[in-house]
Amino acid sequence: MSDMAIDLCGVPLRGPILNGSGTFDAIAARRAFGDALLERFPFDCFVSKTITRDPRQGNPSPRLWETAGGMVNSIGLPNKGLERFLDLDLPELAALPVPLCVSVMGFSHDELAALVEAIGTLDAIALIELNLSCPNVETGTLVGADPAETAAAVERVRPLTAKPLIVKLTPSATDPAAVAAAAEGAGADAVSLINTLKGMPLHPVTREPWLGGRTGGLSGAAVRVVAVEQVAAVAARVEIPVIGMGGVASGRDAADLLAVGATAVAVGTENFRDPAAGRRISAELAAIVPANASQRVKQHQAS
């Protein structure tokens, strides 16, 4: 093992670089790149797209908008649904050279529980991420924006699996650190943040919402300093590991998130610009943090 290796909730990883859920499709990438993808796999742990109980087509086009230093997406969680994920996708994801984290979202506690129960004992899956960026259908509250809702969701699924549960936090919470603390109190093993920031680009001529889903999520370099602030605030509040992400495009960006308390770092939008971004960022990070990934590196922005 290299000296970048980390332990994430008891899962040994060869390094601290993950992908953000929904920013890399290892199965599609293997169609494009073949086995070379596996030989030079860009991440130390692979996080799946979010799986829901039922299949979803996702949002109508257009789904993308480019901004200054980033992009807005309105994809709408297209996925095969739990059953076909288990039959078709899981065998391929299990063959990846790194541990697998499966992201799930339920539109009710029962749905979420069904998902966690179905994958909670499968050997192919090392970690489970709970995507709570969805409304509670009974109360209308965004589950991940509310500490009590988040705690209730985690408490419901905690007894269903012995696998590490990672709670993906939403930056739309008034106080993400309070949500993180609630997740920790309910038994979460880690938290990950930030998800995208809500945005609404307009058509340049009609001034109607450009995106088929009306609103979308902003990501990329533009959100990087938001991520640093929220990761710092959350890491200061909880004892469990924090997976930091948001605009990471270089080893220095990854080192920034580690410096404010993250245990691991995920790459998202930068994957869209280069499928090997994870490998490049790992190499750059190794040059910055020679001893081990948990070392805190103080840096100042060049003026």
Partner: protein, 271 residues
Amino acid sequence: MPAEPRTLAPPERRIAEVKRVERIGAYDLIVARDPIGPADPRPGQFYMLAAGERWGGGGDERPYLPRAFSFARIRPLPGGQGADLSFLLEDVGPGTRRLGELDAGEPLALLGPLGVGFTRPGDGRRPLLVGGGIGAAPILCWDDELRAEGIEAPVLLGFRSAGHAEAAALFAGTPDVSTDDGSAGRRALVTEPLRAELEQDPHATVYACGPEPMLDAVRDLCADLGVPAQLALEAGMACGYGACFGCVVATVDGYARVCVDGPVFAAEQLA
């Protein structure tokens, strides 16, 4: 089923060197030397391009993401690896503007080839090639490949006006040219000569790339006449390799990603 017409890409963005940028009427033709990539991309496959330096800071402080382009022509380098790749582009926004400003010797970041290309006609059908505007690009390399095997397919091109129609001169043969304003070739939509060709001999497979209304018209015409068609679609993409799910098109099986399931689709697959 023949093998999928997909040449695999190296799994990372790489740097090519711009050899020259030629002005072709309303278009720019970038010729870049890619020393690493495969020498046999399939016509219809595409590459994600970005300037190797200063990508960003244009209009609206963009571009940020790479841009998808079909290759228009390929000249393999001696030794079986690498190629000089040509890309046809038009200045329509900050990404294409920056790419058009590249000079010889400057770095061009590219990823590819990506997606699936055209497949040969079945049942002894003759190929019939149709390009609209910048959509002439994949038609050009497909025509080059067919000609290299001694197949001279009719090439029907449609353009807005004479400035755009200068791209027809890139073709080895003498394409049939229509323009919207009649400033070059005949004043017509490209579906007019296509209809005439198909009525004369419908035992053909149509290969088409162009703007959406043109492709819709080609699709309708081919469906009416019972002629198979392969359509190369264009879509805004963030990644080009199936990661972002941003470029979907409606098919009979639900949404498909233009970048990994296409960009070439059988017409009957589209919803």
